[in-house]
Amino acid sequence: MKAQVIVMPKRSVLDPQGAAVREAIHHHGLPSVKAARVGKFIELELDGTETEAQIHEVCRDLLSNPVMEDYELKVQK
């Protein structure tokens, strides 16, 4: 059993990495790309005894910082 967590910078927070990546894409010859945002992808291996609430807690308290990031959790049974 696996959980996949995507952590992204909040839309309201500046994402300098994303801006730099967008610039690099433009230099690479694809100026039509309007924006890039850089986040994290975290995969957790579970033994199945964890509740979804517990995993959400880990996402909220450790894997993301709600001041600057949002997360999305997908649990694969």
Partner: protein, 233 residues
């Protein structure tokens, strides 16, 4: 006056802090992050560095170190807590200070001297100086851009809790003087109780003229003065 410097795996300004504390009249000791007590210390310093390699986010893992529970309890009981650079990031992650520190606006790791303007002196950390004083302090960080939501920024402003702002050599806290894109040029803030102070610049590296500035001393002098007064009371 007893000061403790907390050591996390990856702290690298712990010895600088220890030296600066001794040079400014403190009795300093180290506390390893696995310890569960900070009892007997008037001042707790969270030094700069890269605790846990900055994995996940700067300060994100250090804040779960066993010692942090003791730091929280000591802060609640009124002990002075000073978080410098990575220490500031840890204090934000731990919820002892609001907001967060994100990647510098231009992505570069910045290592240079900068001016910061003292915004408030009614606190234990800057009372030995004057509002408006410019301090020349080194900065050394890749993730020092302070962010917080509008309501938090309002509360910080209204409460006089923004203690330092990046400024130019004439004291103007404008965009050109902002090294990292921090909201409102914020370089340091304190909590509502005014006993927890976090800042990105390194005052401990500005306590000896051979290092180019002694402006950092005023922070340690302020703390010492307050603690002496407290002790006498």
């Amino acid at each position: 006056m007893k000061a403790a410097v907390i050591r996390f795996p990856g702290s690298n300004c712990d010895q600088d802090c220890h030296l600066a504390l001794r040079e400014t009249g403190f009795e300093a000791s180290y506390i390893w992050h696995k310890e569960t007590s900070v009892a007997g210390h008037d001042l707790i310093v969270l030094p700069g560095g890269f605790s846990y390699g900055d994995y996940l986010r700067a300060g994100a893992i250090a804040r779960f170190s066993p010692v942090m529970q003791a730091v929280k309890e000591a802060a609640a009981a009124g002990a002075l807590v000073l978080g410098i650079c990575n220490g500031f990031q840890i204090l934000c992650e731990a919820g002892l200070l609001p907001g967060a520190l994100i990647r510098n606006r231009d992505l570069h790791f910045l290592c240079e001297h900068r001016h910061v303007r003292v915004e408030d002196i009614a606190n234990p950390f800057l009372n030995a100086t004057w509002t408006g004083t410019l301090l020349r302090l080194p900065i050394a960080h890749g993730e020092g851009s302070y962010v917080a939501d509008a309501e938090t920024l309002r509360q910080l402003n209204v409460g006089g809790r923004i203690l330092l702002r990046y400024a130019d050599g004439l004291g103007a806290a404008n965009e050109a003087a902002n090294p990292n894109g921090a909201a409102e040029n914020i370089a340091g803030i304190c909590n509502a109780a005014r006993n927890v102070f976090g800042l990105m610049p390194h005052p401990e590296r500005a306590c000896d003229a051979r290092l180019g500035s002694t402006d950092g001393r005023v922070i340690f002098d302020s703390i010492r003065t307050v603690l002496r007064t407290r002790r006498a009371a």
